[in-house]
């Protein structure tokens, strides 16, 4: 009786801690749920402490950024350019994407990347991006504009860039000084941020009140934002340059001939329709009938090809469908299509009814 009474608080604490652990959303390392294909391939060496969720399905490597960090991806060998499923459509993510100016290697929280992998060896690596300080500020500012209207994205990006530069200057100003001299740095930071506001990037946007801007400025000048910015700039911790930040993929031991085989003329897919966002880049016109479809390889065959073979298959398919869309766009479309419909032929991307 006495013991149980003494243990009760510990038990409550243990349950509380356990519930916190259970609620932690981040998942890193191997996550077979990401793969539509069979994830049992042993070609890819994904360590349990790899920085983000990853899955290798034989011809495609899927990564999902489960962190709150902006990452950069790199690839080498027989690994093609990734297609992307954007998971965060909020203002801060839009601002970061605009700031990154279309950098294909940027990897934002909740993004999923699909890397086509040929039969050769290759690597895919991740590391923390230098944009994390910028993203921390963008996240702070975005909180003041719920809903994130599109008109704001350009203005917030300009403003966030300036604030990020001001923080850089402040950090430089602090270095090598004692506390007394550092008081001047603070004054300079405040002046610079006031200039950023006064330049009117926000005022150009209808509906943003002075009160909102002042509140945003207060949040930017808070201890929390500064510590987040500093932490983001040194956060090369979990997803970093060390060995577990790289996935090594071995070459296939026996070359496959599936890539050159003609696929069946018809398919019996019963897959559900993919979400609209997933097929947003799929061309919906220029279909010329089933006769041409029969010459396209199946997704399985396509994914077994090397990167150069895939590019060739796409060029052939595009020519058959009189599709003048850029090859890179088509490549991404086919990758996404095959991710959703692994048992279709690749020219299913032209079939709007799927």
């Amino acid at each position: 009786m006495q013991i149980s009474r003494r243990l009760a608080p510990s038990a409550v604490l243990a349950v509380f801690v356990a519930s916190l652990i259970g609620l932690t959303p981040a998942h890193a390392g191997v996550d077979p749920g990401l793969c539509k294909q069979d994830a049992s391939s042993s070609r890819a060496k994904i360590l349990p402490d790899f920085g983000v969720s990853a899955c290798f399905g034989g011809s495609q490597l899927v990564l999902r950024d489960t962190k709150t960090l902006v990452l950069n991806v790199s690839r080498s060998g027989d690994v093609g350019a990734p297609s992307r499923d954007e998971g965060d459509l909020g203002l801060a993510a839009d601002v970061e994407r605009l700031h990154a100016k279309g950098n294909p290697n940027i990897f934002l929280p909740d993004d999923t990347l699909f890397f086509p992998v040929g039969s050769g060896a290759g690597t895919v690596g991740i590391r923390s991006s230098s944009d994390n300080g910028f993203y921390a500020i963008a996240t702070t500012i975005a909180d003041f504009f719920p809903g994130g209207p599109n008109a704001l994205v350009g203005a917030v990006t300009t403003f966030t860039t300036e604030v990020n530069d001001d923080f850089d200057q402040y950090q430089t100003c602090l270095t090598g000084k004692n506390w007394f001299a550092q008081l001047g740095c603070r004054a300079l930071l405040i002046r610079n941020l006031n200039f950023a506001v006064a330049r009117g990037t926000f005022n150009a946007v209808v509906g943003v009140s002075e009160g909102t801007v002042a509140a945003a400025l207060g949040a930017i000048l808070s201890a929390d934002t500064w510590s987040n910015w500093v932490a983001a700039n040194v956060a090369d911790t979990d997803a970093s340059l060390h060995e577990s930040g790289t996935i090594h993929i071995a070459a296939v031991s026996a070359p496959t001939t599936a890539a050159t085989q003609a696929p069946p003329a018809t398919t019996t897919s019963t897959s559900h329709a993919p979400p609209a966002s997933t097929i947003s880049t799929v061309p919906s016109t220029t279909s010329t009938g089933p006769a041409e479809s029969s010459s396209a390889p199946t997704c399985a065959a396509f994914q077994a090809m090397s990167v150069s073979q895939r590019e060739q298959a796409i060029v052939v398919m595009q020519a058959a469908h009189h599709d003048t869309t850029g090859a890179v766009v088509a490549y991404g479309s086919v990758e996404l299509f095959c991710h959703v419909y692994p048992d279709q032929t690749i020219d299913g991307v032209y079939n709007g009814s799927l």
Binding site: Q2, N178, F180, Q182, G184, S227
Partner: protein, 152 residues
């Protein structure tokens, strides 16, 4: 039996308090004579000076208005007409002037310059920040030698 149970309960409570005390002491460095780790600005150097340093140095490190200056600047940034922020800056200027009265000539000179810059900032707002930064930077360098303020 009930008394024994009560005694056990008290012993357990005392043990818990003792462990908590040990943990607190361990976290605080086992004593109150350790150096303060407070800073005047975010990410800044500790506000401290050795006990052997001149009195005007210790006046500065214990100057509440000066230590609250960072907060007053933030208030002024978000509300340019904030009277409380301006008052706080003028109070900091007055206390810096008081320290200057006890300082040798070279140190007094730079402190007076800081006090003047603070009053200007209180009057004109953030546009006077460059002059204030210059005054603080120069004063920090001059005072650092005699006050032995740690550097970040």
């Amino acid at each position: 039996m009930a008394e024994l149970e009560l005694l056990n309960g008290r012993m357990a409570h005392l043990a818990t308090v003792f462990v908590a005390l040990l943990l607190t002491l361990a976290a605080e460095g086992c004593g109150s004579s350790g150096p303060s780790t407070s800073t005047a600005v975010f990410g800044g150097a500790p506000v401290e000076t050795p006990r052997s340093a001149p009195a005007y140095c210790r006046m500065l490190t214990s100057d509440k208005a000066l230590l609250a200056l960072s907060g007053a600047m933030t208030q002024l940034a978000t509300a340019h007409d904030d009277a409380a922020a301006r008052t706080s800056m003028r109070a900091a200027a007055a206390e810096v002037s008081s320290a200057a009265l006890q300082a040798p000539l070279a140190q007094a000179h730079v402190l007076v310059r800081v006090a003047t810059a603070l009053r200007t900032l209180a009057a004109r707002g953030p546009s006077a920040a460059v002059a204030l930064n210059n005054a603080f930077t120069h004063a920090g360098s001059v005072l650092g030698r005699s006050c032995r303020f740690p550097v970040a």
